[in-house]
């Protein structure tokens, strides 16, 4: 048996105080070491709900279980295959980013991407025809998340698109994402013109098959994608808005196997040129890596940890470990940031994409300190970037020892967003993101920063409290 009350009576204790300042002052006056909490009433949530969750005897252990699964999850690149084969995606079904969505509710870039996918699949002869079949409900729409997939921006995934197939060797999970098209006028930003179609066709006919064979050559030594993510954080990337180092590391990992693929030299060169020219090529590998980790933490009763942050361009959706597949949605906000060329704030669509899975996993905006350049999207300075990450530590359950942030003394990235902590601190998760043009067909207009609507967390908190009461 140790000292009584953890040594409280052995020596003057360090005091941590929340509330009346006079008490802190009196203790300080007696020579006590006092830390004052900058306490404020919770930003939202019924106090009875917060109390219910604070006293739920399951919560601490459940959150520990959930976040430990997140930290333990691995990510190996096992295959590259068409969505039709690997997800069983049937004809006339499209996956999209974010929570469930109808054509009627879809925003411009989402509509543009859906149109483009219908054309790409040959289900429609052109934009007008595609719009007609989509408006008629002839195309089933499902969230990527419902298929263990994640898609950046519009995230539109059609049967003929090739997917990265990643596996978590620890928990046995699988996750999938499309191949990244590059920047500018691309499908995921809502562009669908002939240039977009030509690129998608080349990706289907050349890039996908070459990558599949290259990855197959690494079958005995699959690429450890989580290790790349860990390395890139130490090279100025944060894994969401900056993927430069990660993309080059991926190229380095894959290029020998690509070169060994029996394909025309021109195709090999085109593949290498395409990967090398796309600073976000890694994003579609990082996202399923994060997805594997967050899916490992699904369905832990009593856990108040967020497992999904995702946007469909109209709504923002949140899921938690304690509430299964239930979506908590609210209208998405529009990012703030910098614009390409002549575009401005009026051109930006509301927040879109499954890529906030990176923040859910503790990188992206949460690892802002690793990539101070990002904070300049909103006119911030390096200390702002550090402060952003410092705030996120107060929202999260753990520090990920695999994802270290050099400038913070190699401290692990803040990982595992706790809905209760979001309410109590009043700080919403920080998300780094690209911005799509609000008009279908435009493409990317900028990049910046955004936060989820508080309303999602209000609903999640109330649902978690209701579940907690029901479980007693």
């Amino acid at each position: 048996m140790g000292e009584p009350l953890g040594g409280l009576l052995s020596a003057p204790p360090a005091i941590v105080a929340a509330g009346v300042e006079a008490f802190s002052a009196a203790a300080r006056g007696q020579g006590a070491a006092v830390t004052d909490v900058a306490w404020r009433p919770p930003a939202f949530g019924d106090p009875a709900d917060l109390t219910q969750l604070a006293l739920d005897p399951r919560r601490a252990a459940a959150n520990r279980t959930a976040v430990e699964r997140v930290l333990a999850a691995g990510s190996l690149l096992t295959d590259v295959r068409p969505a039709r084969e690997v997800l069983g995606l049937p004809d006339r079904m499209l996956l999209h980013a974010g929570p469930p969505l109808t054509w009627e509710a879809a925003s411009g870039p989402m509509r543009g991407a859906l149109l483009g996918a219908c054309i790409f699949e040959g289900w429609a002869s052109g934009p007008a025809d595609a719009e007609r079949i989509l408006a008629a409900g002839e195309i089933a729409l499902e969230p990527c998340h419902h298929y263990r997939a994640v898609g950046p921006m519009a995230g539109v995934t059609s049967p003929s698109m090739w997917l990265w197939c990643l596996a978590d060797p620890v928990h046995g999970g699988q996750a999938f994402s499309t191949l990244n098209e590059g920047l500018g006028k691309v499908l995921r930003y809502g562009a669908f013109d002939a240039e977009v179609q030509a690129r998608l066709g080349w990706m289907r006919d050349v890039l996908g098959p070459v990558l599949q064979r290259a990855v197959a050559r690494r079958a005995g030594d699959p690429v450890d994608v989580r290790a790349i993510l860990a390395q890139m954080l130490q090279m100025g990337d944060e894994g969401h808005n900056r993927n430069r180092a990660g993309s080059l590391l991926t190229l380095r990992e894959l290029s020998p196997s690509i070169v060994e693929v029996d394909a025309p030299a021109a195709d090999i060169a085109a593949v290498l040129r395409f990967i090398g020219g796309n600073e976000h090529f890694f994003l579609n590998l990082g996202m399923p890596t994060a997805k594997l980790a967050m899916d490992a933490a699904r369905d832990v009763p009593g856990a108040t940890m967020v497992t999904v942050l995702a946007r469909n361009g109209t709504d923002f959706g949140v899921q938690t470990a304690g509430t299964g597949d239930r979506w908590f949605t609210a209208p998405a906000d529009t990012p703030v940031g910098l614009f390409l060329g002549g575009y401005g704030p009026d051109d930006a669509n509301p927040d879109i994409g499954d890529s906030a899975i990176m923040e859910t996993y503790g990188v992206g905006g949460f690892a802002m300190a690793a990539a101070p350049a990002i904070v300049r999207f909103v006119g911030g300075t390096v200390p702002d970037a550090l402060a952003t990450t410092e705030r996120m530590y107060q929202l999260t359950l753990a520090e990920n020892p695999a994802m270290q942030i050099p400038v913070l003394g190699f401290r692990g990235a803040p990982t595992g967003i706790d809905v209760v902590q979001v309410a109590r601190t009043g700080w919403l998760p920080q998300i780094n993101t690209g911005m799509a043009g609000r008009v279908a067909g435009t493409g990317q207009v900028g990049a910046g920063l955004v936060q989820p609507p508080q309303r999602c967390f209000e609903q999640a908190l109330a649902a978690l409290a209701a579940e907690s009461r029901a479980a007693r």
Binding site: V16, V37, A38, P383, Y393, Q421
Partner: protein, 494 residues
């Protein structure tokens, strides 16, 4: 704005080699230059295919071949002057150093976050946020393996039980809720007095009761190891003494503690039994100062402890008053800030005076409710929750009590005033400054129980002298003060 907007007026399109800046920096420069007067479209970017396409869309494509490692400066303006200014601004903006700014600490917003950042083995969380939010903060500390002083009130009893069970499981102590007084390893917390260190440990379900006991011990030269508050409800049937049992065990294991004194109101019978059994099983001797109709008062309990320790009982400090003209039929008017001290006064006065009415009565039929001006023998606890809602405790803000003293004087009812004044950390820095003139103005015989020590920030003797000069009789013992007030009344009765 459309990217296809054609540039008005004059244009500048140039490519520079050997210059690199990242895209975020260049987007910032573009925005800065675009905000200048007379400037139309601006694109300052590395000449990648994507950016060349954007420039073409703006009607600002460069002539000839461009390479991705070249810097493209493309802009349009209303006239040559604005254009030249814009190009010059591109250069200065590119050369500008970003202000590195000041590193800013992000303060913790929760007890949990603060404890996570703390580099200390043993910490104590002191929580005094509004009641509805207090449980979450206290639970943070318990989950992190630290004890809590929960000052907040308004915490429902079922939450108190849940926190205390969790604390027990975690091997820590929850002091409270509504725990106003504690002392841990020499650090006084909340309302507590500057007493000497020593060998007596207190487990206290009553804050002012603990203050009375520690101050008397100090006056007798006996010091205190710790005062572990447990909250006023701990010995109720609902809570079952959860914190009392943990606190007793902790003091038993504490090397500095050689005697334990349990200070409380009467516990629920079943709880009293379990506490007695627990106390009997400890190595350290446990005394009790439990206020009830048949039990000794707090001063007597202290005296019994002193004799057990072989310490002479001193003459408890006092100052004479000037009251020698108590009118016949005078009634006792107790105006208390400390609930336990008010109880003690009523317990002592009732056998002498018969029924004493109160807002916190000994029996329900003696309740005056909200009628603070009730006639006859009355003891009011101004620290009761009903009277502190929306205002500070009377140990900090004397206003309500001083108004009551004036009202008693104005009523013309012959009376002896009995008041407590509690000194120490957290209390009014100079209570005599407002009370002495109020007593003088009232002109009634006054007796004050002055709870404090010489070492308190207010100094016992300085306050005692000031009150005595105003005519009040002053006692360090509340029991002695009460008996003196009864004697004044009794003399006239006799």
């Amino acid at each position: 704005m459309s990217p296809d907007r054609q540039a008005p007026g004059v244009r500048h399109v140039s490519l520079r080699s050997g210059v690199y800046a990242d895209s975020v920096r260049l987007m910032q420069v573009s925005r800065h230059v675009g905000a200048l007067p007379g400037v139309g479209a601006v694109l300052v970017a590395m000449a990648t295919p994507l950016n060349l396409e954007l420039a073409a869309g703006m009607g600002l494509a460069p002539d000839g071949d461009a390479a991705p490692d070249q810097l493209l400066i493309a802009l349009s303006a209303g006239d040559e002057q604005a254009l030249a200014a814009a190009v010059a601004t591109v250069d200065t903006a590119l050369a500008a150093r970003e202000d590195p700014g000041e590193a800013r600490a992000v303060p913790a917003r929760t007890i949990g976050a603060a404890l996570a950042d703390l580099d200390a083995g043993s910490a104590l969380a002191v929580v005094s946020v509004p009641g509805p939010y207090a449980v979450a903060e206290a639970a943070d500390a318990i989950a992190a393996g630290h004890s809590v002083l929960l000052f907040s009130d308004g915490v429902p009893v079922e939450h108190e039980v849940a926190l205390k069970r969790a604390a027990h499981e975690a091997g820590v102590l929850l002091m409270g809720p509504d725990c106003g007084t504690a002392m841990v390893s020499g650090i006084a917390l909340g309302f507590a007095n500057a007493v000497r260190p020593g060998a007596v440990g207190l487990v206290a379900a009553s804050g002012t009761g603990a203050q009375q006991v520690t101050c008397l011990l100090d006056a007798a030269g006996v010091g205190v190891s710790h005062v572990l508050g447990v909250g006023g409800r701990d010995l109720s049937a609902a809570v079952g003494g959860l914190a009392t049992l943990d606190a007793l065990a902790a003091l038993d294991a504490d090397d500095a503690t050689e005697r334990v004194l349990l200070v409380s109101k009467p516990p629920a019978p079943a709880v009293a039994g379990s506490v007695q059994r627990a106390a009997a099983g400890l190595t350290v001797p446990v005394h009790s100062a439990v206020l009830s109709a048949g039990s000794p008062d707090l001063t007597a309990a202290v005296e019994a402890l002193l004799s057990d320790l072989g310490v002479d009982v001193p003459a408890w400090p006092s100052r004479p008053g000037t009251a020698d003209a108590v009118p016949p039929g005078a009634v006792l008017k107790g105006c208390y800030a400390g609930g336990t001290l008010a109880d003690e006064a009523m317990l002592i006065a009732t056998p002498v005076l018969g029924a004493v009415r109160s807002n916190t009565p000994l029996r329900p039929d003696l309740d005056v409710g909200t009628n603070l001006a009730a006639r006859g023998h009355v003891v009011i606890d101004f620290g009761d929750d009903a009277l502190t809602a929306g205002r500070a405790h009377p140990m900090i803000d004397p206003t309500l009590r001083l108004e009551a003293v004036a009202a008693i004087a104005d009523s013309g009812e012959p009376a002896v005033l009995l008041l407590d004044v509690v000194l120490g950390y957290g209390a009014d820095p100079d209570p005599a400054a407002s009370l002495a003139p109020a007593l003088q103005a009232a002109g009634l015989p006054a007796v004050v129980a002055l709870i404090g020590t010489e070492a308190d920030p207010q100094s016992w003797s300085r306050q005692a002298d000031a009150l005595s000069e105003a005519g009040a009789a002053v006692f360090a013992s509340n029991a002695a003060a009460t008996r003196y007030a009864l004697d004044l009344i009794g003399d006239r009765h006799g």
